[in-house]
Symmetry: C2
Subunit: 383 residues, 2 copies
């Protein structure tokens, strides 16, 4: 017998039993009053979570499908787009925009660093011709960096560029008040802080985004948001949706309402802080400095005497805990721990303790117990 | 207490418990050897079911997403496309192709009729310039018509046009030997004969389709099949897939392997024949003549003294059986019974008996028991 595989990866993330039960229920017809009620609840609760009155649509697609919807509904071939890149998912925005014929300029910082809003502001101010849109990665999954979205969106707005934001690994874990920050387009996915299996993309689409849509020349059908808008006015979707995940999402959002946004966001901050404290106490080097460190993903360099492969393999074999490798150029150079959604303090303690035991078993010198002590000191000190 | 809602609609369809259990299991990481094994099994079994060596890709999207993938990977703006239209879903092909800039010519027959392959052949022969592709609806969900796909695909091939086929409500219920019939592109969805909840689109993509892809100028990212091909070579997907539905699909396909293709196809023929016999014995008028009647969906005109609304409402209220209204111009004029996937003879008998009781309760004159007798006579006579 073995414990259930525990997902401390940046998605899919742990799914609560109540959500699994909703997903497991026999699908209901999607052209029924019962399903329309689910759609209504989901839309209302997503707006609550995003603190917004903007339109929001739920797509049967991965988060990347949501990114395509963001681009193909606002950007025309030849439009100038500024892509802010601090990792793999920032680069994905650039690739999606290029796939739709945009003229993309990349502003790239080295992995582990955040984008500097002042540099963006200067870039936008001097741009000739002006940029139509700025693509932003709120939380860079490949490195565990969180960007200053409020400042970046403000810079974009000041220079009449749309802010087009990937919030896949932040939305629902980190405060993202869409209206207060006046963000134009926000994309997320089901399998992260929303605590669902993968399969739904979610897109918030604001007033200026609709204005861009009116003149948009890009070709699309499945992701054409005008169709979703028309259907949503009748509490339905244009194509057969993933009924099961919609029902699961309704349940997940109800659970989030019970906890409350500020409590959820504070929990994720505690997870980050206690995990980082424990890892540092273990003598491990973190990839991201404190001020840019993500509340949902933490990247770690392996000790010089161990490989990422060996650590991940042993942690899975002995403790059934999954952590992620680095991606692309960081493969084998870092490992990443996801801590978002249905993840709690005890999971951080378990992960720290298991990682410590793993390092010791692999022959690395660690002072036993120190990691957990640092984390639990920090947790005990909270109000 | 009430019985579970029974879906005799053309999708979502009934899902077997074993499949629901697979879907309900906690998601596994999608970059793991365990998930790669699921991908391998699913691909192998889909090829078995489609009797093909062509590539097949599983998209996290509705069937309509699969249709977009079919178009955006083969058709360039300005290409001439012949769309064969015998209902709502035939028209959808035309709309998707137009959304991607194709010059679409429609060959339309009245609802309830099938496309005439000879007329298509003549059209293709005289076309100047030649058509790049012919869009075909194998089984028209809005009317319950099945087209002669073998003849239509042969006509397309003869005139060097790609055959691009919507098999959403036929694949897995009706024989569709892709290689023997040399069909270029076949699209289906999870929530029909494959017995899953909605959320996956499936696309078979043949050699000539890849040749078209090489010169295709349409813009796409999420549905760019080159990326799926590259990932599939490593038994994975380019973006986070719907892990739960993949696992459910593996289970469903295993069940289908146990029953065997010919047995599955024969069962659907029996469902169609016994249902039609029963409906006719009840004095109801069927929309589609025997030779074009779909093995998976049957359309019925309401008796002159009753409305479609009244019948559907009472059937749901009293017996918790869902049947579908007509779509668009046929709304309120016909109702549709779906009988595909995890549907059996007893379900047809139950539906006939419940419909009969419904009509009687609504004041329509029916000879009690005659419908079920006709159906069961037919079922009893089988070998």
């Amino acid at each position: 017998m073995q414990p259930r595989e525990f997902l401390m990866i940046p998605g899919p993330t742990p799914v609560p039993d109540a959500v699994l039960e909703s997903v497991a229920r026999h699908p209901i017809g999607h052209r029924t009053p019962e399903f329309s009620k689910v759609v209504q609840d989901v839309i209302q609760d997503l707006k609550w979570l995003g603190k917004t009155e903007n339109d929001v649509f739920v797509l049967t697609a991965s988060g990347t499908g949501g990114m395509e919807a963001a681009v193909s509904n606002t950007i025309s071939p030849g439009d100038r787009v500024l892509s802010l890149i601090c990792g793999v998912f920032g680069e994905r925005w650039a690739k999606v925009a290029e796939a739709f014929g945009a003229e993309v300029e990349r502003m790239t910082v080295e992995p582990g660093k955040a984008i500097d809003p002042k540099a963006v502001e200067a870039k936008l101010a001097s741009a000739q011709p002006k940029f139509k849109a700025v693509t932003i990665t709120h939380n860079e999954t490949s490195t565990g960096v969180i960007n200053d979205l409020q400042a970046l969106a403000a810079a974009a707005k000041k220079h009449s560029a749309l802010s087009v934001v990937d919030a896949v690994t932040s939305f629902g874990a980190v405060d993202l008040p869409i209206d207060a920050w006046d963000v134009d387009v926000v994309v997320t996915g089901s399998q992260k802080a929303l605590m669902l299996p993968p399969g739904l993309g979610i897109i918030f689409f604001g007033k200026r985004a609709w204005e861009a849509k009116a003149n948009c020349q890009s070709k699309s059908f499945y992701f054409d948001l005008k169709k979703y808008k028309k259907s949503l006015d009748a509490n339905t979707t244009p194509y057969t949706p993933n009924v099961s995940l919609f029902c699961g999402l309704a349940t997940a959002l109800k659970m989030m309402r019970e906890e409350g946004t500020e409590s959820i966001f504070a929990r994720h901050m505690r997870l980050k802080q206690s995990l980082r404290a424990g890892l540092q106490a273990m003598g491990l080097e973190l990839v991201v400095d404190e001020e840019a460190a993500s509340p949902t993903i933490t990247s770690i360099k392996p000790p010089a005497d161990l490989t990422v492969d060996a650590i991940r393999k042993k942690l899975k074999e002995r403790y059934k805990i999954l952590v992620a490798d680095g991606q692309e150029e960081l493969k084998g150079k870092i490992f990443r721990i996801g801590h978002m959604g249905y993840v709690f303090e005890r999971d951080v303690l378990m992960t720290l303790a298991s990682l410590e035991a793993t390092l010791i078993e692999l022959g690395h010198k660690v002072e036993p117990g120190k990691a957990v002590r640092s984390a639990s000191d920090l947790l005990a000190a909270r109000k």
